[in-house]
């Protein structure tokens, strides 16, 4: 029997009649974020062809580059850092010797909060979740024997990012490498700290100034440097839905663009250096749709709203990390499967680089074996599965395109609500995104507690957990040794020079419109510690205490 062309809507109706005569399983058919999902998507769900387009051309729904993984695979960038600068330096050199070309630095909690290792507030936390860096001396040790003109270095630090960058620039200068040759990324995304990650030093307005100073300084002095990585990762980990991650992250990014333009910078002078960082959660298609929508929204806003002319300004390039919160402490080997599926979503969503979590991370920092399995997971996706053979293999999928449109619609809904509150900075001050995230995370927990949403090994299929996973432990001697190192630096340096550099910084901070980067670099050269620089600025700016919402 020949199949005759038929009106797609009539065909849909015909199918629906057949479908409705059948029974459905009694479960909620929604994404992890609660988006209702239809039983079937058809060609009537596709957007206008121009919205999908082709990779490498506006609006970039299908990818930022014309060749994507046919040209070059994504960068497998595993984040590392623990203990002392010396230990992390050994790990870095090991990674470089084994072919890695970029380094990614994790700092410990005191460094992330701007506290020195000998502060009473640092007790028990030094070198525990990352490397401890107190002064230029630690920064030099961290990169000893590594040519900073040759490697690209990523630094995950936010509130005190400008101080850490000053240490880095001076460390490179002492190696003979000028700032304009340095390549890499510093996270420095301060809005998401107040929204989600909660590592802050100052009230939000001066924090935005310090960040703006750094972006402005980098735009002229460090042309190869990415001065901010606009991050949805932590927003999602804090409990946001996919649409909230998308909307709040992009709105943060648009706010930074707005601030830089207000300072008089030409949008095309810095926008090509902006990069993004997203989460990859376990709801496969929702994540892919999120990345595709993100690219389209960013391209449109940069071109249409900010009038960027350079096509590189329209490109949203992003790093992806699989979801730490999706990992379970129960039956940890199952996490390898979760991470593989999440990583695959990142790849099918067109990520530029990827970090895969280790299966034991719901228990502690990962062991070497667990880290190796995580990297192997990416290699299996890259070299065995064939998914990198063609660009955006899911492009044109009725479901994926419809879900991409839905993500975009929800993001613009949030943009509208944030604008009504007076913009993102104002919305954050009013705890708006914080409250939305707390509500979403509470609702998800209730779904899990009630058993409506199954988490394998946690609220169903719970037999078979032997609790015998070996974990990595970090000794307390790291803290003692780091405190001694810092005391050594304090004893060797010229105290009057330190005090003069800090006083100059305080005076500059009190003057509006003065860029603080050169003053921080002078503090770094005088061997001032991170805590001293931050405390000096706090004398002018004040500190920050959250009014928590739950």
């Amino acid at each position: 029997m020949a199949i005759s062309p038929q009106d797609p809507r009539a065909l849909d109706d015909e199918w629906r009649e057949l479908f409705e005569a059948t029974d459905e399983r009694d479960v909620p058919f929604t994404t992890l974020s609660g988006v209702p999902i239809e039983p079937l998507y058809t060609e009537t769900d596709l957007p206008e062809p121009g919205e999908i387009g082709v990779p490498g051309l506006y609006p970039f729904t299908r990818g930022v580059y014309p060749s994507m993984y046919r040209g070059r695979l994504w960068t497998m960038r595993q984040f590392a850092g623990f203990g002392s600068a010396e230990e992390t330096n050994r790990r870095f050199r090991y990674l470089l010797d084994h072919g890695q070309t970029g380094l990614s630095t994790a700092f410990d909690m005191p460094s992330l909060m701007g506290h020195d290792s000998d502060s009473p507030l640092s007790l028990g936390e030094v070198g525990r979740e990352g490397v401890a860096v107190d002064t230029l001396d630690d920064m030099e040790t961290l990169f000893q024997g590594i040519d900073l003109g040759e490697v690209s270095v990523s630094m995950t630090i936010n509130a005190p990012a400008a101080v850490m960058l000053a240490f880095y620039v001076v460390a490179a200068e002492r190696q003979g490498v000028p700032a304009d040759r340095l390549a890499g990324t510093i996270q420095a995304d301060i809005l998401k700290e107040y929204i989600a990650q909660k590592e802050w030093c100052f009230p939000i307005d001066p924090a935005m100034r310090v960040m703006g100073d750094m972006i402005e300084w980098c735009s002229t002095e460090m042309p190869r440097w990415h001065p901010v990585s606009i991050s949805g990762y932590h927003i999602r980990e804090a409990g946001a839905t996919a649409a909230q991650e998308l909307a709040f992250t992009l709105k943060d990014g648009l706010t930074y663009v707005e601030q830089a333009v207000e300072r008089g910078l030409d949008v095309d002078s810095f926008a090509p250096r902006l990069s993004f960082f997203f989460n990859a959660q376990i709801d496969f298609f929702e994540e892919i749709a999120k990345y595709r929508a993100a690219r389209r929204i960013w391209a449109r806003e940069l071109r249409e709203t900010f009038g960027a002319k350079d096509p590189r300004s329209w490109l949203m390039r992003f790093h992806t990390q699989t979801a730490g919160v999706s990992l379970t402490a129960q039956q940890p080997l199952n996490n390898i499967t979760r991470t593989a599926i999440e990583a695959l979503a990142g790849v099918l969503g067109g990520t530029q680089s990827l970090h895969t979590n280790s299966y034991d991370e719901a228990l502690a920092l990962p062991t070497e074996e667990a880290v190796r399995v995580a990297l192997r997971t990416q290699q299996i996706i890259a070299f065995e599965t064939g998914v990198a053979n063609t660009i955006d293999p899911l492009g044109g999928s009725y479901f994926v395109e419809a879900l991409t449109d839905e993500m975009e619609r929800q993001a613009y809904d949030y943009f509208g609500r944030i604008d009504e509150l007076g913009g993102m900075v104002e919305a954050v001050k009013q705890n708006y995104p914080q409250r939305e995230i707390a509500d979403a995370s509470y609702e998800l927990q209730q779904e899990i507690d009630s058993g409506r949403r199954v988490v394998v090994g946690v609220n169903d299929f719970t037999e078979g957990d032997d609790g015998q996973t070996p974990i990595l432990r970090i000794g307390l001697e790291v803290e003692r040794e780091q405190v001694e190192r810092l005391a050594g630096v304090r004893a060797r340096r010229d105290g009057a020079e330190v005090e003069a550099s800090l006083a100059a910084l305080r005076e500059a901070a009190a003057r509006e419109g003065e860029n603080l980067m050169p003053y921080m670099i002078a503090c770094a050269r005088a061997w001032a510690s991170e805590g001293e620089v931050i405390e000096s600025l706090q004398q002018v700016f004040g500190g920050f205490t959250e009014q928590p919402v739950f």
């Binding site: 909690m109 005191p110 992330l112 909060m113 506290h115 009473p120 507030l121 640092s122 007790l123 028990g124 936390e125 525990r128 979740e129 700290e193 989600a196 990650q197 909660k198 590592e199 980990e237 804090a238 409990g239 919160v325 379970t328 402490a329 129960q330 719901a362 228990l363 502690a364 920092l365 707390a438 995370s441 509470y442 927990q445 899990i448 507690d449 988490v455 946690v458 609220n459 609790g467 974990i471 432990r473 970090i474 307390l476 205490t545 959250e546 009014q547 928590p548 739950f550």
Partner: protein, 139 residues
């Protein structure tokens, strides 16, 4: 709930140390509040001294410490020690977060009543706190 408001269980939910992972603490605070308890959430980045001060000022029946930074073996003993120095022995101390199984016996030895690891249903925590507090001081 027929009990008068003055007899509500008072719980301090606290985030000692520097880690900003407050998702769990906020979910627990809200769940305990929804279960009819009086919840005081300290917010982030609290020193052991600040936490103990809050416990005293709020006349709390229980304190829940949420730690995901790996610093629990430094911070929890300090909180317990400070409580003892203040002569407080009737406050239920619980800990939640990424706590390796091997550390749990030592924490309990110190006087921690229970340790809740990732994946614990919120109802289990509510039941434990209300059961233990009522057992300690029948109201």
């Amino acid at each position: 709930m027929n009990a008068p408001a003055t007899q509500k269980i008072r719980v301090v939910v606290a985030k000692p140390g520097l880690d900003g992972h407050d998702r769990g603490a906020k979910i627990i605070a809200r769940a305990l509040r929804d279960a009819g308890m009086e919840v005081i959430y300290t917010g982030l980045h609290q020193t052991p001294e600040q936490i103990v001060e809050t416990v005293v000022q709020e006349d709390a029946d229980a304190v829940g410490l949420s730690i995901l930074s790996g610093a629990h073996m430094t911070l929890v003993p300090r909180v317990v020690e400070l409580l003892r120095e203040q002569g407080i022995d009737d406050v239920l101390v619980t800990v939640g977060g990424t706590i390796p199984a091997d550390d749990i016996p030592e924490l309990k030895e110190l006087g921690v009543a229970e340790v809740f690891t990732p994946g614990t249903p919120t109802q289990a925590i509510i039941d434990f706190i209300s059961g233990s507090v009522q057992e300690r001081e029948p109201r």
